[in-house]
Subunit: 296 residues, 2 copies
């Protein structure tokens, strides 16, 4: 596969993940129907599938098959979907739009949205138990790493600090805590556990961990920048919502130019982390520029 084909690579992996999600989510004719409709509404048919794709790519780099990593990729996307549904609730960010359509609670009501998020998180852990690896200890380790990345000192911890920082002037350390955990932990664990499916050793895991942290930072900084100067039609959600919520962001703390410099710095660090990897890591290298220059 040619290095230039990143868009095609991303598209084909996203399709694989979409089909896996379609299969692994209960059908909307299964009781209770409204819950399964709600889970499917927010998980299928949209999203960049960044976390799932990273898991598949890492599995391939570790010489595993991306097929074996599909339950993992789907589980990570369900967890991402859970976090977005709960994030959008009125008691949290109170966002009415997500991916160009009404957010889950606008469609199904708050109670069903809450429970759909809970059920997606639970389903993700169930799916991880379906990973078919030679060594069950590896399955247990993967579940443990995912749970730590999501938990009170991971994604959820990042959400809490983000919420507590609204409308306050935060310092750089707090902003980095939020970015590292709210976005970075799930991205990093996608790479690590994908590689674990492929049977990776410690050295590859260490490189992917560093890459994941820098990519997560890059992703969050560009997300902040898009909220300032992005195009509402491409984003599928309003711009300026961070500022109106008094959110801690890179542009708010350092100004737009310094934020862009920070994005370029994270991109360079991400590439440097891959220095010891061969040609097979090309999608990870290409992804850095893709995210640095993304418009949605």
């Amino acid at each position: 596969m040619k290095v230039k084909d990143l868009q095609q690579y991303v598209r084909s992996r996203a399709q694989l993940i979409e089909r896996a999600l379609e299969e692994y989510l209960p059908g909307d004719d299964v009781v209770p129907e409204i819950l399964h409709r709600s889970m499917r509404y927010s998980t299928l048919g949209g999203g960049k599938r960044l976390r799932g794709i990273l898991a598949l790519t890492a599995a391939e780099i570790a010489q595993g098959s991306s097929d074996a990593a599909l339950p993992l990729a789907a589980a990570l996307e369900m967890i991402h979907s859970f976090s977005l549904i709960h994030d959008d609730l009125p008691c949290m960010d109170d966002d009415d739009w997500r991916r160009g359509k009404p957010s889950n609670h606008k469609m199904f009501g708050e109670a069903i949205a809450l429970l759909a998020g809970d059920a997606l998180l639970t389903r993700a852990f169930y799916l991880l138990t379906r990973l078919s690896l030679a060594d069950d200890a590896a399955v247990v380790n993967i579940i443990a790493e995912v749970a730590q990345a999501v938990g009170s000192e991971g994604l959820i911890g990042g959400q809490v600090v983000d919420l507590q920082s609204e409308g306050k002037k935060v310092d750089r350390a707090t902003l980095e805590y939020i970015h590292c955990h709210k976005t970075g932990d799930l991205i990093t664990v996608a790479l690590r556990t994908g590689a674990m499916v492929g049977g990776a050793g410690e050295e590859l895991l260490a490189s992917l961990t560093t890459y994941g942290r820098e990519l997560g930072l890059l992703f969050q900084i560009t997300d902040d920048i898009l909220d300032v100067e992005g195009d509402v039609d491409k984003l599928g959600k309003p711009v300026g919502s961070d500022a109106s919520h008094g959110k801690a962001t890179y542009p708010a703390l350092f100004g737009l130019e310094k934020a862009k410099e920070a994005a370029h710095g994270a991109a360079a660090n991400a590439l440097a982390a891959l220095a010891g990897l061969g040609e097979e890591a090309w999608p990870l290298r290409e992804l850095v520029g893709y995210i640095l220059h993304r418009d949605r």
Copy 2:
């Protein structure tokens, strides 16, 4: 241990579980402190620990050590706590009191309560990966069974149908769906996975499954009855809240006398399911009368 000592048995097991929870929950000095305070507030220092005790007892019946089952017991109690926190939220049952103290969102606000529930659910799955069994495949199976019991066709599914039934006249099948899943699935899986920690075979698992379903039904019917004629001081929460919410309950559907008959029927069925088990199953036998006659 004498058969008559059920109260002492329950008390000693509840203390073991309390200590395990104390150890397995992050301290309230760990960042983000407010989240860990919130998780500990709703999980420590209260509750009957029914699910955790059932797991320990089942492990002992299956000739395992109850020590090995402690992470499982703690995980089940964290899941129970997650479900109560989310259940009490304004968009759900909107209950201000729980176990004699303000509910989580009254103490910490809705956003932290939501995230504390999410984090407890996640922490429970992490804890399950810490189970130290000879066979990692058994750990994976335990995680899968717990996830199914909690998920969209288990506890969470039961919550959804319960919510949808509020203020409506429901039939017996719907009421049984709610009871079976909202309460029964977690109780049944506590017994099954506890026995799996002890290395139980299919026959014992089948007996415990039947017992668990009947005990769950008994527990829910007596819960409904207590909400009609219980003592507010002993319950630590207001009575009559089911009726004021138009909830589907046994007394509402069949009247108080028929509800009590149904409780006695479930008790008899639960005891019958244990017929093939020996003396070591005495706590499960005693528990039936204990729940049938409980006042809180």
